[in-house]
């Protein structure tokens, strides 16, 4: 398994958020984490990235235990996180936002500026504009592009369609499909299960910090009872 979480318990200060979450993602798979607001989806991604390390349980990425590793070390192993609030550096230009995420000069292997600008043509036009002046949809594109510049082998997308117009949601879905074709392994979270299930191979449903359902996305799509029980849709 490319990513393997075993019984992780994660806390914010004193509040216990994740209660023994286990999940797996195989090479090349797209997996989504579904669930209502506040069930621990973001915390799961933050645990993997090392931003809020679990207090117990283990996380293996590319076969290595990441215990005691700092986020930048995990990033350098080949993990990339696109946070829900995007966190584009507002007083850096679009080009500088991309450049800062590069881990080696010129990215000879992997994602180059040309390749990024081909995939996200809107960013090319705005190359010299400050990140803070972009629209929400453009910021989401830049956030994904910026993370790709670090050549991740595992991409963590936190609510990629949150707050976007239907056209931009479609654009984000298209980009996820393209990345899948490139062989990228993706773990994404969504409240918008409709959009997430369109791009995912498998799904996990979280409730109150626990995995309550897991299985194929195609099964979940055809099972309105589960969707209604856990997701309220």
């Amino acid at each position: 398994m490319l990513l393997e979480l075993t019984e992780i318990h994660t806390f914010y200060g004193l509040s216990h958020i994740l209660f023994g979450v286990s999940l797996e993602v195989a090479q090349g798979e797209t997996v989504c984490l579904l669930g209502r607001n506040g069930v621990g989806k973001t915390t799961t991604l933050r645990s993997i990235m090392g931003l809020t390390p679990p207090r117990s349980g283990s996380i293996n990425i590319f076969g290595k235990d990441i215990k005691d590793k700092q986020p930048f070390e995990i990033a350098r192993m080949g993990v990339g996180l696109v946070p829900e609030d995007r966190l584009i550096f507002p007083d850096l230009t679009v080009g500088e936002n991309l450049e800062i995420a590069m881990k080696e000069k010129n990215n000879v292997r992997g994602w180059t500026f040309e390749k990024i600008y081909k995939l996200f043509s809107v960013l090319k036009e705005r190359n010299r504009q400050l990140g803070g002046t972009l629209s929400g949809g453009e910021q989401q594109m830049l956030a994904i592009a910026r993370t790709l510049m670090g050549n991740p082998r595992l991409l963590l997308l936190d609510e990629p369609s949150a707050g976007l117009s239907p056209i931009m949601v479609q654009a984000v879905e298209d980009h996820i499909h393209l990345l899948k074709k490139e062989g990228m392994t993706i773990l994404l979270t969504e409240q918008n299960s409709h959009s997430a299930l369109k791009v995912s191979d498998r799904a996990y449903i979280l409730e109150k910090g626990r995995v309550v359902w897991q299985g194929k996305a195609s099964v979940l799509k055809k099972n309105p009872v589960i969707m209604k029980n856990y997701l309220g849709v």
Binding site: L87, D91, R146
Partner: protein, 292 residues
């Protein structure tokens, strides 16, 4: 006041203001990036002054020793800053703000006592170094060259820092970490190393100011508290975390103090605080800061 006296006050205000800028810029850069208000920043400045005195008096036989002290003093304070960041500050980033005040206030006491142990309680002076020891005439006023030299140093450091922040990869990294340390960390930037580097840079600036000041002032215990208060006034006026803000704040405070002394000597000490209070009332994020 005639025009010559006014020019004299302007130059004197600017030269003190520029030294204060060097200290305040370090305080501001550290606060902007690490979110640490280093109360002991003035003490680092004072140590720079003692180092300048110690180097120039111990190795007085070496020609141009002041200039060597100007290189070594700031490096020494930067290294001291590195030790403080790695061994002390790093443990408290996750804790409440109160802990950083207790820790950095503790450093004021400990470092101050160490200075007392090493250099005693007396006043020390450092003579003005060649070739900036003469006087020159500006607008008909005779003026010490050293003060002009200080103004040039302040402006040069300001331009240098702005250029580093704006045009270099290091500057981009510092701006990114300043905006959001977690995001920068998750993008593969070694944030702990950036923290150490920025803290060392801030202490280097304080040490530089500390080494530059003795020829026109004295080296003594207690100078740390005087400058740290001035620096707080400057960063409040200019805006926390803003380099240009610190520059403008330092010029304003320097001028206000200089004219205060010649116009209303008894109230001089109040002017800086009055200015700060006015800014806090009408624009509490400072002239060039960003509202939260």
């Amino acid at each position: 006041m005639d025009i010559e006296a006014i020019m004299g006050q302007v130059l004197s205000g600017l030269s003190v203001g520029m030294v204060l800028f060097l200290i305040a810029s370090g305080l501001s850069v550290i606060f902007g990036t690490l979110k640490i208000l280093n109360l002991a920043h003035g003490t680092i400045y004072m140590i720079g002054g003692f180092l300048c005195y110690w180097i120039t008096s111990t190795f007085a036989h070496i020609p141009a020793i002041f200039w060597l002290a100007l290189i070594l003093g700031p490096i020494a304070t930067a290294l001291l800053g590195g030790l403080i960041e790695i061994f002390l500050l790093r443990r408290i980033y996750a804790e409440e703000m109160l802990y950083q005040y207790i820790l950095t206030f503790g450093l004021i006491l400990i470092l101050g006592e160490l200075c007392k142990l090493i250099w005693g309680v007396g006043y020390h002076t450092v003579s003005v170094p060649w070739p900036v020891d003469g006087k020159m005439s500006i607008f008909g006023m005779i003026y010490p060259v050293y003060n002009i030299f200080l103004i040039c140093c302040g402006v040069a450091v300001f331009i240098g820092l702005m250029a580093v922040m704006r045009f270099t990869g290091l500057g981009r990294i510092i701006r990114a970490v300043t905006f959001n340390r977690e995001m920068a960390n998750a993008l593969g930037i070694n944030v702990p190393m950036v923290y150490t580097g920025v803290f060392m840079l801030g202490c280097w600036l304080a040490g530089l100011a500390g080494t530059l000041m003795p020829p026109m002032s004295v080296v003594a215990l207690g100078t740390d508290m005087a400058v740290i208060i001035d620096c707080f006034i400057i960063v409040v006026i200019g805006g926390m975390g803003s380099l240009s803000g610190a520059f403008i704040g330092a010029i304003i405070l320097g001028l206000v103090n200089a004219f205060g002394i010649s116009l209303l000597p008894k109230l001089t000490i109040a002017f800086g605080f009055l200015l700060m209070i006015i800014i806090l009332i009408i624009r509490h994020w400072g002239l060039l800061g960003k509202p939260e």
